[in-house]
Amino acid sequence: MMKPRDALTYLILTVLGLLTVMPFVLMALLSLMTQAQSMAYPPSFWPAPVTWANYQQALSAAGLGRYFLNSLIVAVVTTAGQLLFSSMAGYAFARFRFPGREPLFLLVLATMMIPTQVNLVPLFSLMANLGLVDTYAALILPGLVGAFGVFLMRQAFLAFPTELEDAALIDGLSPWGTFWRIALPLSAPALASLGIFSFVTAWNAFLWPLVVTNSDTLFTLPVGLAAFKSSFREVTDWGVLMAATTLTIAPAVIAFLLGQKHFVRGLAAGAVKE
């Protein structure tokens, strides 16, 4: 027999949990409805008949297939860059000694305090001057390196025993060899956290891709989705729109579900630092 307090806890959590998840459920259901049914009032909640046409339409006619590909390219390359460059810098800050190390690290941390919107216009201007507006390079470059990643990896590398480098030295490894063959593999959990975090952040980015792309062959999913939504003049086909949003949300959700532990740990580490 459950204690009444526990039962109450479960009740509250279930109600609030359902409320939280309900919009996604409705979204998925709507995506399977014909336009006629999606416009019905009072709203019907069960697709009858179930139609996959919305997804087909979203992927081809609405161009989501292309947007999906663009998001994938940008997110994967950005994540790879973040993983490599952040771990290199984190390793240097954690394992090497050199003059000015602490002040330099503080400077890196300081960049985290700058709201990204402060850099929006100059970055755009820079891309324009380099002739990179409306290119993959412009979408990817600013996100390749981030202070958060450096902070996270430094944290991870600080935990290694100093004997690590000694042992590697005896084995004749160069500092790069030590980093690449020993330290990096050992930091896999931190890399997983940073990787998932970077991927999701890059996948969901909106303001910068919005600003720096014009042609819809280059739109990432959020930008393409916004354009798609505003393309409906009088009547919105909610079914197709919901199929499009489901396609946009799905990869991030999957990535999250697969690597929940890492994702959450990375977020918590970034905040509960001091």
């Binding site: 806890t9 509250i12 959590l13 949990g17 939280t20 919009p23 996604f24 409705l26 709507l30 009032y41 709203p43 460059f85 952040s86 810098a89 390793y91 240097a92 090497f96 000694r97 050199f98 330099l104 960049t111 305090m113 709201p115 990204t116 919107q117 402060v118 850099n119 929006l120 100059p122 201007s125 820079l126 324009a128 390196v145 981030g146 202070a147 100093t162 480098e165 000694d166 030295l169 500092p175 790069w176 980093f179 969901n204 909106f206 303001l207 600003v211 999913l221 959020p222 916004a226 949003t245 946009t248 991030a252 999250f256 579900l257 929940q260 959450v264 977020l267 918590a268 905040a271 509960v272």
Partner: protein
């Protein structure tokens, strides 16, 4: 470090190699633009030709513009409402989730789900939820006997609509952080209080919450800074309307720069935002120092 490490000089050289990509990236795409932005806020420019230096004119115009105060006020209102909602609710949830019951992981996942989703996508989803005729919210309210609300076309309700969406989206993140904070509180304190005969609420008020204060504080600060930078939801749900009722700093900045090409003005807005964020961070740091003092 080990004395058998290579000579100091070569260590510094290696450090440079390892640091170079990150430093170049952060310098080029972070530090330099920040300074450039500062310069631009003192100019008049529309992306063509060269910027024309105008001194403090942008800032003077800004502080004399009633729209500036409206946008600033709305930003503060949005931020406060969102943060209060998503922190108080998250605290309650975290306290419940911290209890040693089975299946808590499932609930944690459920609450966190909105956090990883694209704000553009969920804004479209909530655009449907808020739809006055077709949306499920008015339908549900109708079942409770409430008249349909014009969520997105009435100024007061539009702001509420955006705030609700933001709370729903950001809740899970705060829950995770607060759970981490709760798990760091040593159980001896709670146990001691129980031995002393304190009931649940008394334990909460005199043991748990004070020990959770640093984490709570951090959560509030992070949420606040995030809320000041709101853009996606407003762009997608209301476009700043109706009649500028949901216009906030970043959205206004975006329109000034990329619709009206008032680059100087946009940069000035950006720096006012920057100043606010810095002020919040500084305030947090000061109060944190006080707290640590009080604790020791």
């Amino acid at each position: 470090m080990s004395k058998r490490h290579p000579a100091r000089g070569s260590e510094a050289r290696w450090a440079l190699v390892f640091l170079l990509p990150a430093l170049v990236g952060l310098g080029l795409f972070n530090a330099v633009p920040t300074i450039h932005s500062f310069y631009l806020s003192f100019t008049r420019w529309n992306f063509l030709g060269t910027p024309r230096f105008v001194g403090l004119e942008n800032y003077r115009d800004l502080f004399a513009d009633s729209l500036f105060y409206q946008v600033l006020g709305q930003t503060l209102l949005y931020a406060t409402a969102t943060v209060v909602g998503e922190v108080v609710l998250a605290l309650g949830l975290a306290l419940l989730l911290a209890r040693p019951l089975k299946g808590m992981a499932v609930f944690r996942t459920a609450f966190f789900l909105p956090v990883v989703t694209s704000l553009v996508a969920v804004a479209i989803l909530w655009g449907w939820i808020y739809d006055p005729q077709l949306g499920v919210l008015n339908w549900a309210l109708g079942k409770l006997g409430v008249a349909p609300i014009a969520w997105l076309s009435e100024p007061g309700w539009a702001m509420a609509a955006v705030v609700i969406l933001s709370i729903w989206k950001g809740l899970g993140y705060n829950v995770i952080l607060l759970l981490a904070g709760l798990s760091a509180i040593p159980t001896q304190y709670e146990e001691a209080a129980m031995v002393d005969g304190a009931n649940g609420f008394q334990r909460l008020a005199s043991v748990t919450l004070p020990l959770l204060a640093p984490t709570l504080f951090l959560v509030i600060t992070v949420a606040l800074i995030n809320a000041f930078q709101a853009f996606d939801a407003i762009y997608m749900l209301t476009g700043g309307g109706p009649a500028n009722a949901t216009n906030v700093m970043v959205f206004w900045l975006y329109k000034q720069a990329f619709q009206y090409y008032h680059v100087g003005k946009a940069s000035a807005i950006a720096y006012v935002l920057f100043a606010i964020v810095l002020a919040v961070t500084w305030a947090q740091w000061r109060v944190r120092k006080q707290w640590v003092h009080l604790e020791s």
